[in-house]
């Protein structure tokens, strides 16, 4: 009877829990890399630094220079944020891939055990 209980757990209960685990890890990864947050604030100034806070423009040339420098700072900030976003997306995809592998391995586990044992014994003997 315990054997049937195990089968029920293995093929009905556990797969649902694996999906829940995937959901938890996806949410955690999304939060950790702040994917949506960084995309929303992609071109925001880096730590709210503005050139005009440091160098007050005295004439039109200064103003143009300030705008150029600020655009450059924002671009660099965007690149840094985008790097984090891409890294986060990569991690998300990796997690998804791993979970799919784990999920499939879970469903095929009895067969996998048999194949693995057979292969191991064959290699030795």
């Amino acid at each position: 009877m315990l054997f049937f209980n195990y089968l029920y757990w293995h093929y009905v209960i556990a797969p649902v829990e694996i999906v829940k685990l995937l959901k938890n890890y996806s949410i955690a990864t999304s939060r950790k890399f702040l994917i949506f947050g960084h995309l929303k604030t992609l071109f925001y100034p880096w730590h709210r630094l503005r050139v005009s806070d440091v160098a007050k423009p005295k004439n039109i040339t200064d103003r143009v220079a300030n705008v150029a420098v600020e655009a450059y700072i924002r671009l660099v900030a965007a690149i840094i944020r985008m790097t984090v976003v891409l890294f986060g997306v990569t991690v998300q995809i990796t997690i998804l891939f791993l979970f799919i592998v784990i999920f499939l391995a879970w469903l095929m586990w009895p067969a996998l055990v048999f194949i693995s044992l057979a292969k191991g014994i064959t290699i030795i003997f």
């Binding site: 293995h10 702040l34 604030t41 730590h47 191991g120 290699i123």
Partner: protein, 892 residues
Amino acid sequence: MYFDLKKAHIYKALIFDKLFSVSLLRFASIIFVSLGILAGSAYLFTQQQNLLWSIITKFVPEDALVLLKNTDTQPLKDYADEYAQNLESYSATYEIASFAAPIFEPYFWVAIFYILSPIGASFLFVNIFFEFYLKKTIARDPKNLAGFLDYDSAFVMNNAITISNRLKENEISTDSLFIGIVDYEPSEIIFMRLGVSPKHLKKLLADSLGLNWSLLSKFSLYGKKNLSEDLMNLLVRANETRVKENRDHISVTDFLAPLFDLNPIFKQLVIDQDLDKTDLTTLSAWHEGNKARIDSKKRFWRIQNLIKSPPIGAEWTYGYPLTLANFTRDITLPIKKSGKEIPMVNREKELAEMQQILAQHNNANILLVGEAGVGKRTIVAKLAEKTYGGKTEQQLNYKKILELDITLATSSSKYRGDIVNTLTELLKEAARVGNIILFIRDLQNFVGESEGLGKVDITGVLIPYLQSSQLQIIATTDSVGYHKHIANNSAVATSFSKINVEELGKIEVFKIIADMAVEIEAKSELFFTYGAMKTVVDDADKFISQAPFPEKGITLLHEVAGYVQAQRRALVTTQDVHEVITKKTNIPLGAISASEKKKLINLAEEMHKEIVGQEKAVSVVVQALQRLRSGLAKEGKPAGVFLFVGPTGVGKTLTAKMLAKHYFGSETRMIRFDMSEYQNKDSVDTLIGSLELNQPGRLITAVRDNPFSVLLLDEVEKAHPDILNLFLQVFDEGWITDAFGKKIRFDQNIIIATSNAAANYIREMVRQGIDPSMQKEKVVDVFVSESYFRPEFLNRFDEIVIFHPLTRDHIRKIADILIHKLVKRLEEKGYYYKPDEDAIDYISNVGFDPQFGARPMNRAIQDKIETVIARKILEGTVKKGRDFTLKVEEIE
């Protein structure tokens, strides 16, 4: 309701454990998985290193190497045969190579990996199946109580059934359940918390029930058996506890409270530890709470555990707090470093309110009002933990809470203009950075007209930021500070949302103390019994009035831990807590020693050595002390409230002093108020303080500074009626509130009021040969009819004690006592005075006045005897070391 363990889901877990030995399974899974991983690593290593080749090349000549490189191991064997006799190293290599060659081959390890890993992983899955499915409480039939048992309680019930069978009971009794709990190793911690060692317990049960433990300890799956009515009742009540606490399972600790009612052996055991059923319920609730917290932390895959730290780059859209860093402390730093959750009990309401207010667009500022030590800072730290972890409102997530040190900021210059500029810059920066919530402690020191050391009025600087949406500020203050400095300043008061932080109740404080005790246990080798934890809370509540909960409880807990550690012991018991409190207060607590018992029983005799006559008064006082020490005094009221009435100079004050000496350890533990000084209505302010004049009251200060003392109210009938009304509440409730809103407790004071009211009536009764003590109602009638006291005032005394006028005999005895006190004093200085009877008679005549009683006696001894002795010492007629006496003519 019924009970059938076999039909419960949890029974499968018991069968599984019996068949497969879960601990062995767990061990096997670890070993196999580890070996599998090891095999995989070895495969990679051997493939990379070609290990066999590197060993062989150390020992075998080059031509053989060429051969070996291109063939399998057989040539090596042939080669080794040829050189075996001469070259030991070759033979060693041969042996290694032929026998152990496979372990140096990658294929070997691949095979081991293929075999061990799936076996190990399968064991692991079976383990997970057991832990997370079989052991889960699933109640398919809500009428079957067994369906609600958790694994431990199911194991214990099964144990009980087995034991019942071995004891040949017709029905399973509560005794069997008790034995089942004792016999289950994980339950040992519960009994240790109760202060009972499992060894002692087993002996107790062996003696009471005639058990042989060695025969009982074999676990087996049970056959069907009926439960006794008591046991069924127990299970029903355990289930009710489960429902009340909103849990899905019945645990072992749920059995304890009903077992107290239904099993006399367990009941006596608990009572012997000075505990009761309520304590078992509290212990159970705390134990379950702890277990749930530990289980929750272990489940690392839960979303709450996965999102503990803030995201990468959360701060990139906010500014740098460069100047602020010099004048603030980041409250989230200790949280980041320790990674531990800040424990907080019963402040969820305040925390939720704070988050709601801070998330507002305007006036998002909070003022926490509460006494120092109630936990305002802990609430702010908890909020910091939530914002750091992103577990609060979206507008607050990932914000930092910085504690602003205004004193440091204002000490940067002595000019007010500079100070204002510094503060303005700091606030401007905080607003500009964008993710800062400023925390200001003791705001009352920085608002209002009061200037002084460390105080400056920053209202002007603060208000624009309080009223804007750019910055959020949390400030703390106490009740007195709020009413004095902030409430009247409408601009400041209206900019804050006030949240009162009240002192926690004993139940909440117990949870804090218990959790903290567990933390201390983890760092030291101490173990706190439940009784010790409970006594910390009870004794802190009764005997420490200078600070509120939880601070006073926490302080006492650390003191007790330090005390026990200094004695190099490991177990902290109730007695240790009592000893620490006794050292602080001089009040004897805890178990009464044999010598103390003897002293209490003979106390009347002891007191009569100094108090002459007044048998009834002494008897009343002694009885009160005996009740107090036996723990029978009423909770929440003063330890005793007495009215001593009688003529002047008959021993009323002396009796009060004796009471202070015998209960509080010294005659000096007495606060005396001459109530004739409080005859005006304004005197109430003198006693309880004045907010307008910012003056604390004399009574309040005296009692606060001396909480364990006799409070003597002399000539109470002379006090203004408003003063007597004040004491109505003190006598009844044991506390009053001073002018500043602080509660002052009198439950550790013995209050004695003295009065000469109706003295003449009492004298007349004595003259007529009537004992006033036996006609107390008549004396009380005089008090009321002559308007000395109102009936409701008289009603609040535990006892009205009538002191008799002194007789001649009494006077002589008093003279004798006082003269012998003088003799002792002189002896200490080396002079041996032998008073004769005539001298004592003379002194008793001159030292007594019908109007003033025995009061002039001391003066008479001083004038008549001491003066003469002093003169004789100076003249040289009285010398040290020699006896002398004084004739009546010399002292007249």
